[in-house]
Symmetry: C2
Subunit: 422 residues, 2 copies
């Protein structure tokens, strides 16, 4: 798995999540139209068809009793850990909250930006094996930090049940309504509302390809988060990096999914070999060996480069979701990283700490989109309104220019609205 | 045009931009696939077909000579006004820039958020009558304020020419490459790159329905701005509002487009009647009377309510693109407005001042999307990367909880990456 920096495998890794759309888009589009037109009726029919769950307006919502049962069915120690993670994540996201501001111009105008939380947010949580309580925390708490009052959730219910730890986490986060539906039909229900499901202003959360396409299609009707692809890590490992830790962090990524990717960049051949050996050794005893083996072999690599600068150049080109800067004096080098979803700095900062507990969000841009997307954050759950307060003096000072510009765009009505006033 | 607050015309106004998608989406999807696959060849063919312009790799870019000619063909007074507007808009958008920050936890971890400008941005400018130099300023300058180095633009060239004032404004903003292409094919070129057109990280700017659908489809390949619908204003006019100004502001909105909307809310019947009279009077002498008449009659109204609070409730429900708070002591009431793209405060703040000159952006969320979208801003042209720096103490303090959570999600590899370290 050790390759040099010009190996074409790097391109294969970058493009591994590229195939999308086509038929999926068409199917999602049909489902959305149907739910938009027929509301609950369509939503219930799709749920019967795809999730094999007989749903109606009386059993679509998780009851208080089901929540209590979920707590009973969850390890107490886990509940305590979830609560601590909750506090850390909420504390960090409160730091991302912004304030309304005003700025005074030389002519006495006040210009500014008003911050208002969204009225509502909806979280999509996948069903089955991909039902992670950590996703609930990471999607709900930025909305809580922003001051969103009405947070709801939907998740496909396998045999009418949603994972207990997921329900407990949702309750700990203060999520109000939890609906037992999933798929493109559920996204449509959140976007347009049905008799049973309340429309939301923003939909976030991971899902399969139909969910991703549905989110794309309803974008604009409500807001959505980014479109998530398969997960990835890039580790820049300096001479003193511990091979055992590097290998463990690679495998932590690769156990997620056969399409996951772990790339480590080194400038020390011996280190590369030691990491490779450790990966093989740790892989043998990993419970999810079968998954990790595929992603290690197909989508992962240890790349040999000449030095740190070259490593950073490749990292910025890949723009990984997770980046570990596992080098000496790591924090002083973060300026070299332009594109990454999250930067884990130094030997004591494994990705797993950020996945669950540290505070920053684990919903991160994948597949190179860290070049333009940010982690999910509190800023996703408030919006800005511009404030323009002109007084007589500021309007007078600008009037000639405004009229000139309006008339040059053939918008005489715009010009009139100034002329009449001055 | 005077209606009461329960009139169903209000719903018609809210839904006037709703019909979309369907065939447009399919056509845009085909065009994108073709450009993605065949690059310049497809881009040139579509440009010949749709814009009737024989384009090739030698004439696709606007030359320095064409820029010089554009300056010569533009009124000097207009150039001066554009430069002043440039300075105001840039100054305001610099205030929206954020800084990298770090926060220290009680166990000595450093958590934070790194701010990095996008590498590149691409602006779409429509051709023909909708080629507005003000759009260039409003799309380019937030990117400039964010520190984006590589800003390019594309616009369909009618007979091979782009509007002179548009070219001059682009040059004043420091835009590097200007391509003479438009439509869904141009959006695809920006998203995927072709031999002639450089791929960008984010596409912004208005366009027709094919452009809007194409942007939706490439979302994720690059970032896009919001999907713009027809423009609108909502004016809350108190007892002392001057009917002549209110009418002028309504007509300024309505001259844009037959689908534009101007809604004024009052709690004074006499004022309502005076505004109505003024609208009729001013409409008669408006150059774009034919357009404005349709939008006034079909999509505009003066709504009579009981008081300011009721007016604000309707405003928040509509979530207008532009909101004029034309009441006494207006600034003290902005807390009552939760949803609006931009709030114009008091009698001296007509929308036209903000459209061109004051500084805040004129690219604003339409069609009720101010409930969740913000004005285009500097924050659209940088992204955040999370920073997680744990030391031994902070990793030790969190290790038990992280391991508990990882094991409960059946991710032993994640747990191992912590166990090995502590």
């Amino acid at each position: 798995m050790i390759i040099n920096k010009n190996d074409k495998k790097l391109d294969d890794i970058k493009n591994r999540g590229a195939a999308m759309e086509g038929d999926y888009l068409h199917t999602a589009s049909e489902i959305i139209s149907n739910v938009r037109k027929n509301g609950d009726k369509a939503l219930f029919e799709y749920t019967k068809k795809f999730d094999n769950f007989d749903i109606n307006k009386d059993n679509i919502k998780v009851s208080r009793q089901e929540i209590e049962e979920a707590y009973d069915n969850t390890d107490e120690k886990l509940i305590e850990s979830i609560k601590k993670a909750h506090d850390n994540i909420l504390a960090f996201h409160k730091l991302q909250m912004e304030k309304t501001w005003l700025y005074e111009t030389k002519h006495g105008a006040l210009l500014g930006q008003k911050i208002t939380p969204l009225d509502s947010a909806g979280i999509y949580v996948p069903g089955g094996k991909a039902a992670y309580f950590s996703s609930v925390l990471m999607n709900a708490l930025p909305a809580v930090a922003a001051g969103v009052k009405d947070i709801s959730m939907l998740s496909p219910a396998v045999n009418g049940k949603i994972n207990s730890a997921v329900l407990a986490a949702a309750d700990i986060c203060g999520i109000k309504d939890i609906y037992k539906v999933g798929g493109a039909q559920a996204v449509a229900a959140f976007a347009y509302g049905t008799e049973s499901v309340k429309k939301v202003d923003k939909i976030t959360g991971p899902g399969n390809i139909y969910v991703a396409m549905a989110k794309k299609l309803v974008f604009g009707v409500c807001d959505i988060d980014m479109i998530a692809g398969p997960s990835e890590i890039l580790i820049i490992a300096g001479d003193n990096a511990e091979p055992k830790y590097v290998a463990a962090d690679m495998l932590a990524q690769c156990e997620h999914d056969e399409l996951a990717s772990a790339v480590t960049i080194v400038w020390n051949k011996k280190l590369a070999e030691e990491i490779e050996k450790e990966v093989k050794k740790q892989l043998e005893i990993l419970p999810k060996k079968n998954i990790a083996k595929v992603s290690i072999e197909k989508h992962s690599a240890i790349i040999l480069v000449d030095n740190l600068d070259e490593a950073c150049e490749i990292a910025n080109n890949i723009a990984p979701e997770h980046l570990e800067l596992y080098i000496d004096d790591a924090l002083s080098h973060i300026g070299k990283i332009r594109h990454a979803g999250a930067i884990f700095v130094g030997s004591n900062s494994p990705e797993a700490a950020g996945d669950y507990f540290a505070g920053p969000n684990h919903v991160l841009p994948t597949g190179g989109s860290a070049k333009f997307f940010s982690p999910l954050g509190t800023y996703d759950f408030f919006k800005r309104s511009s404030i323009i307060y002109y007084n007589k003096a500021s309007l007078q000072a600008g009037s000639d220019d405004i009229i000139t510009m309006a008339e040059n765009e053939n918008l005489q009505g715009h010009a009139n609205s100034i002329k009449f006033r001055v």
